[in-house]
Symmetry: C2
Subunit: 270 residues, 2 copies
């Protein structure tokens, strides 16, 4: 826990459901173009409760995937989830991303999703992961960026509620606006070339599954989840925060629009 | 000029070059999926100096395009540009979008690009245009959204400089953040179904043409262009504004990233 920052979102059940909802509604947008060859050795660093691991296992059925997380409880849950889905191509292990128990060049590819946002030293993590990749291999990194949240009707209170989450994550050593920085971060860690593609979730009422699955149950639910912490930290008061959350839910109505951008980067190791 | 708001960008030469640069670097992103059938009657409402008209003519070589603009000078320039490019499928006419001299059902398709952002009554314009479309036809609308501008390194001064442009446009009756609203606007005007797709310009140093053509010569040049007006309007002072512009140019350096989203909507007339 020397470098790993506090995980702002928390490990409770509601959070697990949210992460799961997120993965199932975003899965195509974020993961459909990630598939590893048969027999390639893939490390998923920071698998959490396995929200992405099932997709990874499904899209690369003949790859040999190793998924690790710093939390023993999360690893157990991820393992159960992947087994329940009937996949046998993933092995699990508890480990700290800053002290991974693998020899240099142990993997052909590394996959990191929603992890760097929680680290106070993301470049250091990327450097350590690079050591584990054999020459010619790749790292794939996916992160969100709360600064990309845009919506109609616009609302100052909603932006301030989002800013509470950004500030809490910053105080815990993380960066909720890290998505836009993936290119310089991977370049700093010596990956080359680095290719970034933005993935915008655009939700209006012609796409009801996204409105429900993303605007309401993923993004707004996540902001709602920091209410207590934000008030206790003195970042807001209950009435202002609640107005912001109401205004976020308002963007899920018939004439509302919600936009959020994830960034996906692929970097090569020479 | 009853409804048409003041055109914030202005009609000077530098602006024309900027619009032209914008169209040539963004052309594929914004226009590659717009092509009208042979003999279809297409109205381009608000062609300006023809930045988009050349692309429209090129992508729909056998359509019969009519391009109008409220400014006689712009129409003349657009005409010259299209003729110089060797296209003979466009006729030009000076006309106000709120008083178009065409009979109901005169067109199969309408194309509107970077126009609604300048109108104080965009739904009214969309309703009038709908009258001109024959049943089964479509309207295509493309607009930017300054609220989508995100960059690294982040900068409060840069956001404030952008906000000057947004506020000037608002005071002139327009809306620089209109992109995200295309879905409700077209729905309000009775188009159905309406389909919106966001088009993000993502520029990091692996894409030098976009950094030069968009980050510097399109977006930052546009913000720089309102310096005098913003200072005269009391929205900022020279030192803060100049810092913001410097910070925007900073995002065009090797480790910088700049993101901006355009929205493209297609609505059908029943």
């Amino acid at each position: 826990m020397k470098h790993k920052s506090l995980y702002v979102h928390g490990y409770d059940t509601k959070e697990n459901i949210r992460l799961q909802d997120q993965a199932s509604t975003l899965v195509e947008l974020l993961h459909s173009d990630t598939s590893y060859p048969a027999n390639s050795r893939v490390l998923e660093a920071g698998c959490g409760v396995g929200a992405q691991t099932v997709t990874l296992a499904k899209n690369s059925p003949h790859a040999r995937i190793t998924s690790v997380d710093i939390s023993e409880a999360s690893v157990a849950e991820a393992k159960g989830k992947v087994e329940a889905a009937g996949f046998a191509n993933v092995s699990f292990q508890q480990a700290d991303i800053f002290h991974l128990p693998f020899k240099p060049g142990s993997f052909d590819h590394v996959f990191v999703c929603f992890v760097l946002e929680h680290l106070s030293k993301p470049v250091e993590a990327l450097l350590l992961l690079k050591e584990l990749i054999s020459p010619g291999g790749t790292i794939t990194v996916i992160e969100g960026d709360h600064g990309s949240a845009n919506f109609h009707p616009d609302s100052e209170a909603a932006h301030r509620a989002i800013q509470c989450q950004v500030e809490l994550q910053r105080r815990a050593g993380g960066n909720a606006n890290i998505g836009r920085e993936l290119y310089p971060l991977l370049c700093s860690a010596g990956y080359s070339p680095v290719r970034v593609s933005p993935r915008m979730v655009y939700a209006d009422s012609s796409r009801p599954e996204l409105v429900d699955g993303f605007t309401k149950k993923t993004f707004t639910a996540m902001i709602e989840g920091v209410r207590q912490s934000a008030i206790l930290a003195g970042l807001t008061d209950a009435s202002l925060f609640d107005q912001g959350v109401r205004d976020l839910y308002r963007t899920a109505e018939g004439d509302g629009v919600f936009c959020y951008t994830f960034f996906k980067a692929v970097g090569e190791k020479k």
